[in-house]
Symmetry: C2
Subunit: 198 residues, 2 copies
């Protein structure tokens, strides 16, 4: 299994993290974003959207970090990380959407603005960050994990850009339940950090 | 089953469409967006994100249109609309992410700008629309459906805001494969239109 990877991408990191938690062997293929390797014809043949990560397993390549989490969880996670029951699967899926919508438009965009100088409407990214972090903090008041009283890919999908919020000048100080949840994730067996996180 | 619904929301429509395709009885609960009913304490107790749609089935309520599609497909779709195999499930999931990321930031935002006067960076929404429509059109050159040679929730998730692109002043004229794909969806048994679509 080959992971096309950029070290500083939170979306790549969430895949690296689940691979580690599931103790799956993989080869890391570094893609040089600064020199636009992700827009090269060679990489576009792997992922026509020109985004990272992509995962190659045998003859097929998957794009999109959320879809890759689903793939790994379904294939190697024994229904623990992604349950097979309709209601439970949907509860987890809600947070995959939150990761690629609200969290992407909030703390991910704020980080892209400050860390990578992307052209981002920072006012909107801040507003979105605060509204989604407030909802998640309230949700976690009575819970250790986002759903099902255990770690699932819901947590893995939402974790990186929330934990990296400080790189977008978003403080997690008001969100004490989120801070506890981050601590829970860091205690998972086989947890690995990413650059910028301990 | 109760669907909290706004008639002009493409995200609500995708759920109404799958409910119809699967021939599932449901009660429609209209939510008055203009008068901010979706931000009322009563609705926020159903969906803390204050977004539509939400689906109530017995004691539990699900938010997020993509998660609701997963729920309905998994519970009532007999592995046809959402396959149970890891690779095939991930292929479909890729497009759920495309729906709530690229399509949301592209044609959905463009429509929100022109139709509902939302504060949107219309230049970016147009650029995003053109880049994602170009990728999807190319992808559909050799295919009738987004994945697996049949209609799945991948198609249902991506369909509404692509088919409504004209309401965001995005023409689908250059995208002939997308036009054919839209035609295929409209021919599905039990297809229902939404306001603005035939």
């Amino acid at each position: 299994m080959k992971l096309y990877n950029a070290e500083f991408s939170g979306n790549c990191y969430k895949v690296r993290l689940l691979l580690s938690l599931l103790d799956i062997d993989r080869e890391i293929v570094p893609i040089d974003i600064i020199n636009k390797e992700h827009k090269s014809p060679k990489y576009l043949s792997k992922n026509p959207l020109g985004e990272l990560p992509a995962l190659e397993d045998g003859a097929h390549t998957l794009r999109d970090s959320q879809a890759i989490l689903v793939y790994l969880a379904k294939k190697y996670g024994k229904d623990v990380w992604l349950p097979n029951n309709a209601k439970e699967m949907a509860l987890v899926t809600q947070w995959l959407s939150t990761a690629c919508n609200d969290i992407a438009r909030g703390p991910m965009d704020a980080r892209a603005h400050y860390k990578f100088k992307f052209d981002v409407d920072i006012k909107k990214a801040r507003e979105k960050s605060i509204s989604i972090l407030t909802v998640i903090d309230k949700h976690l008041a009575a819970r250790e994990w986002l759903e099902l009283n255990r770690a699932t890919i819901a947590d893995i999908a939402c974790f990186p850009y929330i934990a990296l919020a400080h790189e977008g000048n978003i403080s997690l100080e008001p969100y004490t339940n989120i801070q506890k949840w981050i601590g829970n994730i860091k205690k998972l067996p086989n947890y690995i950090p990413m650059p910028g996180l301990d």
